[in-house]
Symmetry: C2
DNA sequence: ATATTTACAAACTCATCAGTTTGTTTTCTA
DNA sequence: TAGAAAACAAACTGATGAGTTTGTAAATAT
């Protein structure tokens, strides 16, 4: 019993450190040795727990990235109030987190999609699945917003979801350089302006 | 005289093929040998013309990427008409190009910024400069739109420029997977809706 | 025509990396 | 408490990659 716990602990240590380094230096530019060195572990330990570098990364997607995207970007959006307000708050919150250099999992997703596109179809599948999950949830939240009278009935919810995800990824790419705080402010300001066009009671 | 011409031709062949492969497989995941093999050239040829892989890539930025971003995304925006319409057309045009898998240099920029962020400060500087050029041009075009009475005077042009660049990068990231044509349609549709909030004569 | 520079080719160096093998210690089990 | 399985460590393998060295044919200069 105790053994299984230790096993899980070691695996998770590797995954957490692995994700950190993959994020900082990129997957292809990070060696297994880099990860092991920063943990004072050996190759033997790694290949005892994981079958390959690719398998290791897939386990990171499933155990860390997917969960975090869900808890930071998907789950907070569900609610009874005006979805446009909730989404704006959620985005602002996520971008503020990103500002303090903590891991932003929405950005991670976009980062890795960029890195693996055309290079590893297997890993791309897993990443795209998370993206789809996010998209589907946005769409249904927006549609509920229609039913509840917050969003104009002529709005194309799928298009809005696409636009929301793309602009989020884009602003995060921009935030890697320059004044994050200012960028976040500008972005949220424009986002809210955009949301007004979707609102049921459009301003005159 | 003839010699210099040959020199330039060879260098350009390397740069064009290099960019193509760097784009497809990523910088760190593409070896000099990959490029040389597809050109039937040798290491000697490469290191005769370029001092290093990094120097080679910087020359690609300066000779190919910068020029193309300018000619595809910056220069077409200058004009006397309503800048919002021109920008929408320019974006639609660029996204249509991207759909047919031709090189989209705006996307290239965002791609490489993602890849080099935190990994190569030198190259990042060059990439960020191009981004700034784009941004500055967008801002001044939008401001001219104010003067000419196309854009509402309360609009924050810098914020709009940020929003425009970020959403473009984001939508291109999304377009690497799934239905490009549909994505483009949705995106342009929402963009135009957003533009209405910036317009001088707001719809009732 | 000869000497020299240019524009490469080919083979090599040295570091790194994913994955293997073998050996050792710790922990659980019977 | 012996033995077996688990959880590693350490050294190795084979491939690849950036950059170097050496050699050579053709173009150019003198």
């Amino acid at each position: 019993m105790e053994r299984n716990l230790k096993r899980m602990a070691t695996m998770q240590r590797m995954q957490v450190t692995g994700l950190e380094l993959f994020y900082k230096k990129g997957y292809y530019n990070t060696s297994i040795d880099d990860i092991l060195k920063s943990l004072s572990l050996s190759k033997g330990a790694f290949y005892y727990h994981f079958e390959s570098k690719e398998g290791f990364f897939i386990s990171i997607i499933q155990n860390l990235i997917q969960q975090k995207v869900y808890s930071m970007l998907i789950e907070p959006i569900e609610g009874q109030e005006n979805p446009l307000n909730i989404i704006a708050d959620c985005y602002e919150n996520a971008l503020e987190t990103a500002e303090h250099n903590e891991l932003d999992y929405g950005f991670l997703l976009s980062n890795f999609i960029t890195e693996f596109n055309g290079r590893n179809a297997e890993i791309m599948r897993y990443l795209k699945d998370i993206l789809s999950l996010w998209e589907i949830n946005l769409i249904s939240t927006l549609q509920k917003g229609k039913t509840d009278g917050y969003i104009n009935r002529h709005v194309d919810c799928e298009a809005v979801a696409t636009y929301l995800i793309s602009s989020y990824m884009g602003i995060r790419t921009l935030m890697v350089e320059g004044n994050c705080k200012l960028l976040r402010y500008k972005y949220i300001q424009q986002l809210k302006g955009y949301f007004k066009t979707l609102s049921e009671k459009q301003l005159a």
